[in-house]
Amino acid sequence: MYRIRLHGRGGQGMKTASRIIGSAFFAEGFEVQDAPRYGAERRGAPIFAYVRASLRPILERGVIRRPDLVVVADESLVQVPAAGVLQGIDEHSLLLLDSLEPAEVWQERLKLQGPVLTMGSQAEGSSELPTVGARCAGAAARLVGVISRSALEGAIREELAGLGDTVVASNLETALASFDAFASDEGRVCPPEEAQLAPHTAPAWVDVPHDAAGISAPDVHGAATSVQVRTGLWRTVRPEIDAERCHGCSWICSTFCPDGAVLATPEGVPRIDYDHCKGCMICASVCPHHAIASVLERDAS
């Protein structure tokens, strides 16, 4: 059985990528499961999707804990604990990253035993974002080695049919180019031998006493604990305040920021809270003095 896990940010099209890969497998005669994980699928937030494909009936359900292929549409997710990009990766798992940096750098940085591949370049602006998913789908299709070019094309046409001819054409172009680019890596994904129940020995039984409800599910008495969640990791673009141009009218940017991520110093000078700023760029659009610039996150100091 092939087990593929896809990681991306809401809006990059990774759920659609999972559907494309699933439909392509299906066209090749496989039994298929493809599903996103339901949660807070917010634009910019980490999202997950899973594909299982097998020539025999699939009896497995739920999240994929031991993936054969992990596809990551956004390299900044690797450092987000909640994204769990590296979860369950071992020496047999292939990691495919959309990154400007070469595979060897990632291999060394993450100390991985298994193979790593990188591809293409990251999208330059939000307008290119929707095809990241297509690029990932094209690459994944080639890497498993059992999906033909025509099956991939058919799957894209089927899954994107409702979005109009222009969207289908640009996604096809991206996906097929990606499929072709990975020709030399065809079939790199190797599913391991299926685990058998027979030789499995159950661990020794341990009785754990029940805790009182107050211990096992304690009340939260802390105020505003959400600040421990670093939503700044969602960001692909960041606002930067030009101190020369800023007139210190912090009540404007601070009031219009949905996330309370523009703070005012005691002197009334606005300061961006990069731990929590999601990069919506509303502050830049409402600043009367145009003192806030948009900077791509990877170019930020």
Binding site: G10, A40, A223, V227, S254, D259
Partner: protein
């Protein structure tokens, strides 16, 4: 509103009570409005939250609030508010907490709950004269589940359940009039893009007792399909085109707190949003656009 402490933008708080780090989308119009609402109400507030986008504000063990938050099913936030109010009243009556430690009870629901399945429990709570503030953040669809059509979806909008060529066939329910027909203590429409108007109305609502209603139009980048950075522009245009009238109800009278003059054509507001794109491309849908404009014109004509 001469007694307001919010005379100009500068009077709005620059430090906020609501904690950052919530799971709302980047550019969320509901969260932006809630920042100011919470700043004005203060931390001695209990939120009773019906299922919806805002449910994700408090995901155990994290909360952006500084006080209690109660999660209810979609239909019964006002009933939850009744329970909290009763509990507080009983504790005060029994001397278990001093009257000075009373809390104000605020219901927070989306438009799905407010216009649809929560309407009967809302009506019941107003009928009983429950002392609570009901905040509806209205993103004009079931936003948390992928923007399906709700009772608040405007005419012509594309949603996950109303498609091309003409979008949603029905019309946005007039929730403000449904509320005022119950003769509550206070009702007002607000939008985060007009924060001063919003702060004054929340301030007034907080000073009154009995059932009170604040209806927030919440531009939604995800559900309405526009760039998050344009959220405030979309909100301002909702007011300038007259599509979202800012008004308040008190003592049986409805007063408009902002009369856009001249009114911008509705197309300026609709054109910014992907959910109305089919009204402009490939060919302009003059009939639908005309009927949307006509309803806005009729509204303001009737409003005098």
């Amino acid at each position: 509103m001469s007694e307001t402490r919010f005379q100009r933008m500068k009077d709005l708080p620059s430090t906020h009570l609501l904690g950052a780090g919530t799971a709302m989308c980047a550019g969320c119009g509901a969260l932006q409005a809630l920042q100011t609402i919470y700043d004005v109400l203060g931390e001695r507030t209990v939120f009773v939250n019906a299922a919806g986008c805002m449910t994700l504000l408090s995901v155990y063990p994290f909360t952006p609030f500084r006080g209690s938050w109660l999660y209810t099913a979609m239909a019964c936030a006002p009933a939850g508010a009744q329970g909290v109010r009763d509990a507080l009243d009983i504790l005060i009556a029994k001397g278990r907490i001093p009257p000075g430690e009373d809390l104000s009870v605020v219901t927070l629901t989306g438009d799905g709950a407010a216009n649809g399945m929560g309407l009967s429990s809302t009506s019941g709570a107003i009928e009983r004269g429950l002392d609570f503030l009901y905040i509806c953040y209205d993103n004009e669809g079931y936003g948390n589940t992928g923007q399906q059509t709700s009772g608040a979806t405007p005419h012509g909008a594309r949603t996950a359940t109303s498609g091309a060529p003409h979008g949603h066939a029905g019309f946005k329910k007039d929730l403000f009039s449904i509320w005022t027909a119950h003769r509550p203590a206070y009702a007002a429409t607000v939008i985060g893009a007009e924060p001063l108007d919003l702060a004054r109305k929340v301030e007034k609502a907080a000073s009154l007792r009995g059932p009170r209603f604040i209806h927030v139009l919440a531009p939604c980048p995800t559900g309405w399909d526009f760039e998050p950075s344009e959220m405030i522009d979309v909100g301002r245009l909702a007011v300038r085109t007259g599509i979202w009238p800012l008004k308040e109800y008190e003592n049986g009278q409805v007063v408009h707190t902002r009369t856009p003059h001249p009114r911008a054509p509705v197309e300026e507001y609709l054109r910014l949003q992907g959910r109305f794109r089919h009204l402009f491309e490939p060919e302009p849908d003059a009939e639908t656009l005309g009927s949307i404009q006509q309803r806005v014109d009729d509204y303001w004509e009737a409003a005098g």
